[in-house]
Amino acid sequence: MLNRQLKEKGIESLLFAAGAAAVLALFLLCIFLFKDGLLLFENYPISSFLTDTKWYPTSEPEHFGLLPLLLGSLIVTVGAILFSVPLGIATAIYISELADPKISNILKPVTEILAGIPSVVYGFFGLVILVPIVQKTLQIPTGQTALTGSIMLGIMALPTIISISEDAISSVPRSIKEGSLALGSTKWQTIYKVTVPAALSGISAAVMLGVGRAIGETMTVMMVTGNSAVIPGFPSGLFAPVRTMTATIALEMGEVPQGSDHFHALFAIGSVLFITTFIINIIANYIKRRYRFNL
């Protein structure tokens, strides 16, 4: 009896340790990221980091301007959302409300496979197929643009958006839909006046998680957006090369002298990125909880 209890306790503490390890990892990650990031501001004023419009990390004097990179990330992400949200929600509505069960049983796993493709494969596809198409269609000097990155990221965010929106739409109680139909509204009227509004919180959370996926993506954007560290115009910047925060870290981390200002600047960018995605995730969670559908 005592033995069994001990065993029970042992397993319990093992599981607790596993849970604690994840929290601890996050905690340590934060400490190291922020510690190295903050060291930049010993030699380089934080005001310049936030307002300088140039990113010339290896020139004399050095310029570590966050703005072109932050705005680069922003424009690519906004583009991705404009592209993937309508498509994702339409797909989710089709799968959960309209499709024949046979079709939706195929469609849903297929969209989820999209999430399993490695990002370097997306990047390669974008570079070889999409970049020339964008260049020829729009008659612009290069196809490596924010738009190309947005389309690729949009495709990559689709599985997240589809699967979470689909869950939200399916969880709208049948009684509400049936009530609407009983009152004489058509199937389409029920979808856009009743079902979708009822599932709006889940859909919003899906969009936020899609944003989080897009803003943190590295390999694909690095391969297709051209990586010019210039402040993009809006919307004209969509058709010009941009550089994102993630791509900058990936491009320059390889050979940066350890402990240099440049090294710390990359950590500072990492911190900004971390804070951004952290806030997005919190908002997504908040929306999901706050507006959960209650009968």
């Binding site: 503490s13 607790f16 340790a17 604690a20 390890a21 601890l24 140039k54 010339y56 990390p57 290896t58 020139s59 570079l127 070889v128 970049v131 020339p132 260049q135 000097p141 290069t142 196809g143 490596q144 690095m222 391969m223 051209g226 990586n227 010019s228 560290a229 210039v230 010009a240 090369p241 550089r243 990936a250 491009l251 320059e252 981390m253 390889g254 050979e255 940066v256 002298p257």
Partner: protein
């Protein structure tokens, strides 16, 4: 009851923390040991079974490939190869920290003076040739550029091919990322240490430059000669002495302006393992590795 549970949780938590802390201390110790053993063997005898090579990041992949093959053939030998840049490598040689310095440039007179003041006598070996090709799309009618034209394209003062004798087409300028050795070399030789234009496309790898140039008629980029293929065209360059085609012959002859020999420097004539290693690099097997890595053999 509640306090007991809390107490238990706290104790579990501290155990976890202790384990993690121990792990970190462990990592620290391992690192320490490695560095000290490395120093010891380095100080004991230079000609023994362990040597250290440091310097240029351009030569780094070559030295890594050479030392791997050499250690495969001589299992008792241990060669440590470290990058950092040509200047770093030569400085380490002057301080007597390394057995061989790698450099993608010639040693400066000031560095020779410093070395001699330290009792070090640098001996130079040309181990390979490296050529940088400036490439454009095959449909581009431009076949040659002067260094002035190339500089104005890369610093942003010229943005249309018509200004350098081509068609009326926007130039898409492509560079490597700043961690590339070629980025620094090109900046020094062509841009004369000025900045690259901010709107240049930055590619993470040479393959990506080839890809973009091959599919974009207005693009220009620079790549290691080994990456040249039929999908792109190398320009002839004129550094003031007439234009020279980027061919292996011109690169080895030294007439092509963006070609440079890659060097090893040792303190006096090398002995022991350092000599064996350099002999290996200069041998036909070693020079085959040079071609495999993408540089040109010296012979």
């Amino acid at each position: 009851m509640i306090s007991g549970k809390l107490l238990k949780n706290i104790s579990i938590c501290s155990v976890v923390l202790l384990i993690v802390a121990a792990a970190f201390i462990g990592i620290g110790c391992v690192d320490q040991e490695k560095t000290t053993t490395g120093d010891d063997t380095g100080e004991e005898v230079t000609g023994s079974q362990s040597i250290m090579i440091k310097g240029s990041d351009t030569v780094l992949p070559l030295s890594q490939a050479e030392s791997e093959e050499f250690m495969y053939a001589n299992p008792e030998a241990s060669i440590t190869v470290i990058g950092g840049g040509s200047g770093v490598g030569i400085a380490a040689l002057i301080d007597g920290e390394v057995d061989i310095a790698m450099a993608s440039r010639q040693i400066k007179d000031s560095e020779i003076e410093n070395a001699q003041a330290n009792g070090i006598d640098p001996v130079e070996y040309d181990i390979a040739w490296d050529g940088i090709a400036v490439v454009v799309n095959p449909e581009n009618p431009v076949t040659e550029l002067t260094f002035d034209q190339l500089k104005s394209i890369y610093d942003g003062s010229v943005s249309n091919w018509a200004d350098v004798g081509g068609e009326d087409l926007t130039i898409t300028v492509i560079t490597r990322d700043s961690s590339s050795g070629t980025y620094g070399y090109f900046q020094e030789e062509v841009l004369l240490d000025e900045e690259y234009r901010a709107d240049a496309l930055v590619q993470p790898a040479t393959g990506a430059i080839v890809q973009e140039v091959a599919q974009n008629t207005g693009a220009i980029g620079y790549i290691g000669y080994a990456y040249l293929d039929d999908s792109i065209t190398a320009l002839a360059l004129d550094a003031g002495e007439g234009s020279v085609e980027a061919t292996p012959e011109n690169i080895i002859a030294g007439t092509y302006p963006l070609a440079r020999p890659l060097h090893y420097y040792t303190d006096g004539e090398p002995t022991g393992l350092a000599k064996e290693y350099i002999d290996y690099v200069m041998s036909s097997t070693g020079q085959d590795i040079v071609s495999d890595v993408g540089y040109f053999p010296v012979n």
